[in-house]
């Protein structure tokens, strides 16, 4: 995706170089998230682990009705893990942006 599309909509249109002068440099230096290293500390594992524990807890429940909640918990666990990775990618992009504009 063009990095310009990550900008706020209002900023995108207000900061274009309509009169032919290039937009300010700091507003253009939005990093490419694929090039930026993903800091390990920002990966939100604790949240997915908590959901994992919740799933295991349900497995231990002796009645048969526990089967459905387990599958639901697993699904939620998967979604949250994916979400956490996406959030961490955004965070790293924002961090790198701050560094480059500093």
């Amino acid at each position: 995706m063009n990095p310009l599309r990550r900008r706020p909509w209002g900023t995108l249109w207000a900061k274009a170089g309509w009169d032919g002068t290039k937009p300010e440099m700091e507003t253009l230096r939005i990093p490419n998230t694929t090039a930026a290293p993903l800091p390990q500390s920002s990966i939100a594992r604790p949240r997915s682990l908590r959901m994992g524990a919740f799933g295991r807890l349900l497995v231990g429940v002796p009645w048969s009705g526990a089967v459905l909640p387990v599958s639901v918990a697993s699904t939620v666990n998967f979604d949250l893990t994916a979400q956490a990775h996406e959030d961490s990618a955004n965070l790293s992009a924002a961090d790198t942006l701050q560094e480059t504009t500093r």
Binding site: M1, N2, L4, R5, R6, R7, P8, W9, G10, T11, L12, W13, A14, A16, G17, W18, D19, G20, K22, P23, L28, D87, N90, L91, A94
Partner: protein, 218 residues
């Protein structure tokens, strides 16, 4: 920005909601969730309407359509802002450009105005390319020597001028009625697009026009 985009990511598209068009059979009306009345027009009606305007306005037809497009765009952008801000709970200006562009494209498709693409390749030089496919006006106008969608040229000038907070001009450079695949428009400041109508008249391709606009004069 991060919190706004995170929130928006969890929402469904505004135009894909099942109750976007609500029909009242007794009154014979169709309305959007915020009460805007929708008018459904056939191709035959549009063809007749276009012919009637051409008959009444003659050479001024394109100017009339463009002026209508500007007024329509100004009311549309007001409604678009209000509806999406209410739906997502985030001011539209703060939402990421990719999401708003997707919503704008959805608005086009759901209202039957075609498929919209915004090209930001020449953003730094102050020009934006807008492309529409399957747009209603070229579809009903038949083959023509000149671009046949001044209505949407006016529309885009008003919509993007609203967000740029300055008066912008929009000129159609390619059109299916002249044998092109899609309609292409260039958006920029009026005084920088001064030569474009002459180039369009000479059937200069869109890419060449943009190259001429973005290359400094020697």
């Amino acid at each position: 920005m991060t919190s706004a985009t995170s929130y928006v990511r969890l929402m469904n598209g505004y135009y894909s909601r099942s109750d976007y068009f609500t029909a009242d059979l007794e009154k014979g009306t169709i309305r959007t969730p915020v009460g805007t009345r929708i008018c459904s027009l056939t191709d035959d009606f549009l063809r007749g309407f276009r012919s009637a305007v051409q008959f009444e306005c003659g050479k001024a037809t394109d100017r009339v359509f463009k002026s209508c497009g500007k007024r329509w765009g100004a009311t549309f952008v007001d409604r678009f802002d209000r509806e999406l801000t209410e739906h997502f709970g985030v001011p539209l200006q703060d939402m990421s450009a990719g999401i708003v562009e997707r919503c704008l494209d959805e608005a086009f498709r759901f209202h039957g105005w075609g498929k919209l693409t915004i090209d930001l390749k020449d953003y730094d030089s102050g020009f934006i390319t807008v492309e529409t496919r399957d747009s209603p006006m070229p579809a009903v106008s038949g083959s023509s020597d000149k671009p046949s969608d001044p209505l949407f040229a006016g529309f885009f000038a008003a919509v993007f001028g609203h967000y740029a907070k300055t008066e912008l001009e929009c000129i159609q450079t390619e059109c299916p009625s002249r044998g092109n695949e899609a309609s292409k428009f260039v958006v920029g400041l009026a005084d920088r697009l001064g030569n474009v109508p002459a180039w369009v008249k000479d059937k200069i391709p869109h890419a060449t026009i943009l190259r001429r606009l973005t290359t400094p004069a020697e």
